[in-house]
Symmetry: C2
Subunit: 570 residues, 2 copies
Amino acid sequence: MEALNSHHIMVLFLSLGILLGTARILGELAQRFHQPSVLGELIAGVLLGPTVLGSLAPGVSEFIFPLQGPNAIALETIATLAIGLFLLVAGMEVDLSTVWRQGRTGFKVGFSSIVIPFSITLVAALVVPEALGRHADADPLIFALFLAIAMSISALPIIAKTLIDMDLYRSDLGMVVVSAAIFNDIVGWIIFAVVLGLLSDTAGNGASIMMTIAMTLAFIAAMLTIGRRLIHKMLPFVQAYTRWPAGELSFALILGLLGAALTEWIGIHAILGAFIAGVAIGDSSHLRERSRVIIGDFISFIFAPVFFASIGLKVNFLTHFDLPLVAAILIITFICKLAGGAMGAWWGKMSPREAWAVGFAMVSVGAMGIIVGMIALDAGIIRERLFVALVVMAIVTSMLSGPIMRLILRPEKKLRLQDLLSPKLFLPRLTATSRHEVIHEMTTAACDAGGLDAQAVEKAVWSREKALSTGIGKGVALPHARIEGLKDAIVVMGVSDSGIDFDAPDDKLAHVIFLILTPEDDPNAQLTIAAELGRLFRRPLMLDNILKTKSYTDFMALLRASAPMEYEKG
Amino acid sequence: MEALNSHHIMVLFLSLGILLGTARILGELAQRFHQPSVLGELIAGVLLGPTVLGSLAPGVSEFIFPLQGPNAIALETIATLAIGLFLLVAGMEVDLSTVWRQGRTGFKVGFSSIVIPFSITLVAALVVPEALGRHADADPLIFALFLAIAMSISALPIIAKTLIDMDLYRSDLGMVVVSAAIFNDIVGWIIFAVVLGLLSDTAGNGASIMMTIAMTLAFIAAMLTIGRRLIHKMLPFVQAYTRWPAGELSFALILGLLGAALTEWIGIHAILGAFIAGVAIGDSSHLRERSRVIIGDFISFIFAPVFFASIGLKVNFLTHFDLPLVAAILIITFICKLAGGAMGAWWGKMSPREAWAVGFAMVSVGAMGIIVGMIALDAGIIRERLFVALVVMAIVTSMLSGPIMRLILRPEKKLRLQDLLSPKLFLPRLTATSRHEVIHEMTTAACDAGGLDAQAVEKAVWSREKALSTGIGKGVALPHARIEGLKDAIVVMGVSDSGIDFDAPDDKLAHVIFLILTPEDDPNAQLTIAAELGRLFRRPLMLDNILKTKSYTDFMALLRASAPMEYEKG
């Protein structure tokens, strides 16, 4: 079984380290610009693959990411495993009860957002196949069917992330969009299974297609009924009689792996099996939050970036970039998905503004479109030129979806403490010794940075302070004032080693002081910020840890890494 | 890059699912019999590999675990990655400050437990190499050096687990053993690096060996000084400016992967680099518990079982089993390591009883010995016959170490709630409606199961109850008594839907009642059990969840899966 020699092992670790590192750094950068992290991860692959590194330094590229031999197989093994596990996690996030609750409207949006793009693209791909990138060897019907799916599928993870960011995830509109996306996902994969069945039906008699379709539907139906109930019944046994959390973690992963193997054997792709297994597991209320977090975090943050970056290694995105084709694919998808989503919402009796928002939400094709495209490329249904166009389309639709929804719905901007703080407004060594002095010191800092009238601000803060002391106890004080003409809230953070008497209810000296200046016309801002600070300081040892911080970076690390255990997905 | 076709992908997912599933089930079984889970994981591989499945059904074995082609490479890729990541986690668990604190005695034990087995084995392997399994082609010196390492290395994870189980991990004795094992680990790997350097020095002029040794020492020194400090300084930046916990997780993994690539490039094995990177990362107090848990759990519970099971796939353990060789290896290792550890402890002025306990603790060779053996097998230093002997020796020493330590130290048996409960003593539907009735109902159940005098027990519990009510509030009551002649504590759990008035301080009716009977001569048992129950019911929603449980299994699931986030390692 000795297949990897020392050189191969070295390249294996090196290539994974570089791939993960580059993907994560560019993924972070993408988020900095309010873009999905998958964008940065894909670009990492483009930089490391034939497009950039392969052109500039072919020797280096061939050394780290060889296209032949054991290391090529090794990397593809890990990418294959990564995409299977990523779909398992995507499935685990599906909330079937949501689909039932918003069922009627969600169904209408899901149905219409798949039928309209699908039928229009199908007709177009049959009538003008060359304009849509069909290569000469491709079967016309299979090609048209495939393209119709790639352009009508939706990206549940990206849609969910956008809604969470806008605080709309649990709203009626959010639930409609999410259930529509789930419906869209499941139907899309089933149709895709049919296409792959058609492809493998070399005899052309239809028998094996019918068999594949029947087995696929049977698998999905069995997993979502008996399988789901069986898993729900088995989970308490796993928890009761195996080591925690080892048993539950491996139970979920084993089901995902075997589900993947089964659908791949049926003749459709492994990822459908992993996805459906994920839905069946994730639906059980017995599954513990800790297992969700461990599986979700490790796979989303380690495996998924490696997978998305590996896509860029496959193709030269420059030489295969065909502007007319990219434009055609992008425009058709955008208009069809927008129309499909919006018409479904309108059919479901939503208001015109909401219907447009739903339409733009469904526009995002994201990771799912890329995955479908990759399978089609591997199966020979499409060539590099169309693959590149599909990837670009998937990325651009995902980038546009969120910002346009924001424009339409204009959600209230969420005030987040970490956005309000800055190194300039962080005073780790206050020199003041009294309440009046410290307010003077901190308002001066705030007004220097914000260009405000220091005297007026100090007066406002001090008169508020005199009226009722703002020492909230536990060593924290929150002096504040609403300032006329101020556009955005300002928070100054100061730390006093000796402590300042803020007349707190527990008689403790204040060591951490936040000066909060909020706009006159925004009555909620002050309360929101104070509430978030309160939440922060309810954590045990928070004050001790803050007093130990020596720099703004240390403080930000403390703030961000104290976030509650919750999911974030790109 | 199309290297895996549909069949390969199916086999990939299938083989991983079967390997992980079998390894986890047998690992759980091993723990049921108080054995390290690695034992069960290895046996899983033996069952699935050439030894059993390959003999009984060669076709099936060849289908799932082919020895040639892309799937063989795929499985080896995953095993290689798994062992690298497992060593990263093992390194992250090393607590350098422990090594410094118990430095003097730990050094003496570590030094003596490596020098004595090493020198004795080295001499034996040079004098009677055939008796110790040297094959004709092996270089005498390299063979002797390698065998000396394989028989003097210690298994930090297994030793740590044994000490935790015996509640000795944080004791002086525990710290001495742990620091000795760390010392032993690091020195062992360095010597092993030298041996591998010798092996690759085909020119035989010693220059490349010196280079490898120099670079290895430079790498270790740099990582544990500058590297460690740099990581400690960088972590707050990662936490402050990247998505949490994605940034920190990938930071740790990227360092591990690149460390592995670097040492593999230097000419020693990748796992040393991953291990040292792990030590450097794990030592930073900035690393958050959540990241440790996610990385530790996912790798220890998913990757590690796959790796250890894959070892069994390599070799036929039956045809290569050579009893005299196994006995020779086992006896020499056992005596030498015992003597080395005990003499080191005696040198460090520990009491004779403690010195023997330390000696038996250091006997455990465990996973580390297997890993060294596997590398040697791959490198051609040893053949299957000796590899099998080393694996058996590693397992047997690990199985003996814990029980013998227990015999010597006789630690107080830790009372654990989950060991005291049983389905017979779980009464989910109490019929009683008063305090007196419920005590009657529950003592009857206890005495039926335990063969006690029901009347006397009921009288004892009731007189205790009359003296001071045992309703502790929040819907829980803990009636109890110390019973003369009782050998082990008995806990009966009853649930009353209607609730029973136990005169609780918060005036709430008791819905969950635990009857606690403890031996007369063990004054602590009752307090320990009551404290654990108190801890359990301080968790939010615990009572609501218990009232929802319908079976003993549901209740056990709730109990075990409510454990705090802490490490357990096999």
